[in-house]
């Protein structure tokens, strides 16, 4: 049997501003996750660092330590890789006033 792998779209055409995050997703079966964040439109304002967050219950979130700069231009792609995350994962970013980015967030999980 081939090892399971899956691509999840967890945010599509969502405009991130203020305190933004993907919906939580469960990935406990996976040994690794690669997450891509693509800017679908030209971002506005200063683009913040985004971060991977993990959780004991899908409701309370803790920074995992992996950070990345949000893309600064349309079609720019940020990527991050995580290996130790337990079950719950999400991506979050805090935008300064007036800044925003319309994102496509895809998660690639592999057993």
């Amino acid at each position: 049997m081939l090892p399971e792998n899956i691509t999840l779209v967890v945010g599509r055409n969502e405009c991130w501003s203020g305190r933004a995050a993907t919906e939580p997703f469960e990935a406990g079966w996976a040994r690794e996750a690669v997450i891509f964040v693509r800017a679908l439109k030209e971002p506005k304002g200063e683009q913040p660092m985004a971060r991977v967050e993990i959780s004991p219950d899908g409701m309370r979130w803790v920074a995992e330590g992996t950070e990345f700069r949000m893309p600064s231009h349309e079609d720019g792609i940020a990527v991050l890789r995580v290996k130790h995350f337990g079950n719950w994962l999400r991506v979050a970013a805090d935008y300064p006033p007036g800044a925003e980015c319309t994102v496509l967030v895809t998660v690639h999980l592999k057993a």
Binding site: L8, V9, V10, N13, E23, W29, D57
Partner: protein
């Protein structure tokens, strides 16, 4: 002279004996051909995100579809008691809404059919809201349900697209309703973009749900948001007559004589379509979760 050819009765008896000796299939009552048998310890089994139609720009997608996200594989982990697990493995398919009253999410499995006969859709499922409060939360999930999306063959006269829908309306505006409903109307078909190639409609709009006569049912919800029990349902639909034949949920069998699917003229690119959808709706600003332990889709051919 005696014949060595087994009779149909013997063949059926052998089929049932083999099914009932298989621990994973024995809990189902499949028709003679098993089209798919989905256990989610072996992956998503083709249950993907229902993405809305669009043309040139994702902004053209209807808002009902834009809210959808991918289903996930879950062990039903709870903050107070750990992973609940499924019936026969650790995993179930989880369809989660966003935390907003009226939010919906849909997972879909896309096939085509090769025979116009009865299709049986059997599911073991359960539902709960996200356990953000230490109370029963029994009215936070509006509904869970399923739909088929079907279209006749390209050579059929009077071709139709047919979409039977059934939902368990658990709660509406905080009232614990607990009844099955169906739908015979969808929203107007609207062109998406300007090429005249793509249309869209929102068949899960809040309007036009009708009560299934005799469809009140109290399911096992259990006593706190983190305890779940698996529930069985089976729906039979005849692809020849495009008509519902029967619907069962646990110990109840419902009269389907008043049931009607959504019907519309055939569309340009959907011939012999045989799609199955599973959906959840929230009735409060909490995520609603539909968990599916296993699905068996079978046909009489």
């Amino acid at each position: 002279m005696t014949s060595n050819v087994p009779t149909n009765d013997l063949i059926e008896a052998m089929r049932l004996a083999l099914l009932r000796a298989d621990p994973k299939l024995s809990r189902f009552d499949p028709l003679p051909r098993i089209i798919s048998h989905d256990c989610f310890s072996s992956g998503h089994c083709g249950w993907s995100q229902l993405v809305g139609n669009y043309e040139n720009n994702l902004d053209t997608m209807l808002p009902g579809y834009a809210q959808h996200t991918s289903a996930m594989l879950s062990t039903l982990p709870h903050w107070d008691s750990g992973s609940h697990g499924g019936m026969g493995s650790s995993y179930a398919l989880k369809i989660a809404t966003r935390p907003r009253k009226g939010a919906q999410n849909v997972a879909i499995k896309r096939h085509t059919f090769r025979h116009r006969g009865t299709i049986r859709f059997e599911v073991y499922f359960t539902f709960k809201p996200e356990a953000t409060e230490l109370n029963l939360s029994e009215t936070d999930v509006r509904s869970v349900g399923f739909l088929f999306d079907l279209q006749s063959g390209d050579q059929d006269d009077g071709g139709q697209r047919v979409m039977p829908h059934l939902r368990f309306l658990n709660a509406l505006d905080g009232q614990h309703v607990q009844k099955w409903q169906f739908k015979r109307r969808t929203t107007e078909l609207k062109p998406i973009g300007d090429s005249d190639k793509t249309l869209s409609h929102y068949h899960l709009a809040a309007e036009d749900w009708e009560d299934l006569p005799g469809g009140a049912q109290r399911l096992c919800y259990n006593e706190i948001p983190t305890k779940i029990n698996w529930t069985y349902l089976a729906f039979d639909f005849d692809l020849a007559e495009m008509k519902a034949l029967s619907f069962r949920c646990n110990d109840r069998t419902f009269d389907m004589s008043a049931f009607e699917p959504i019907r519309m003229p055939a569309m340009k690119n959907l011939w012999c379509m045989l799609n199955f959808g599973l959906f959840a709706e929230a009735d409060s600003d909490k995520r609603a979760f539909l968990y599916v332990d296993s699905v068996c889709i079978s046909g009489d051919f």
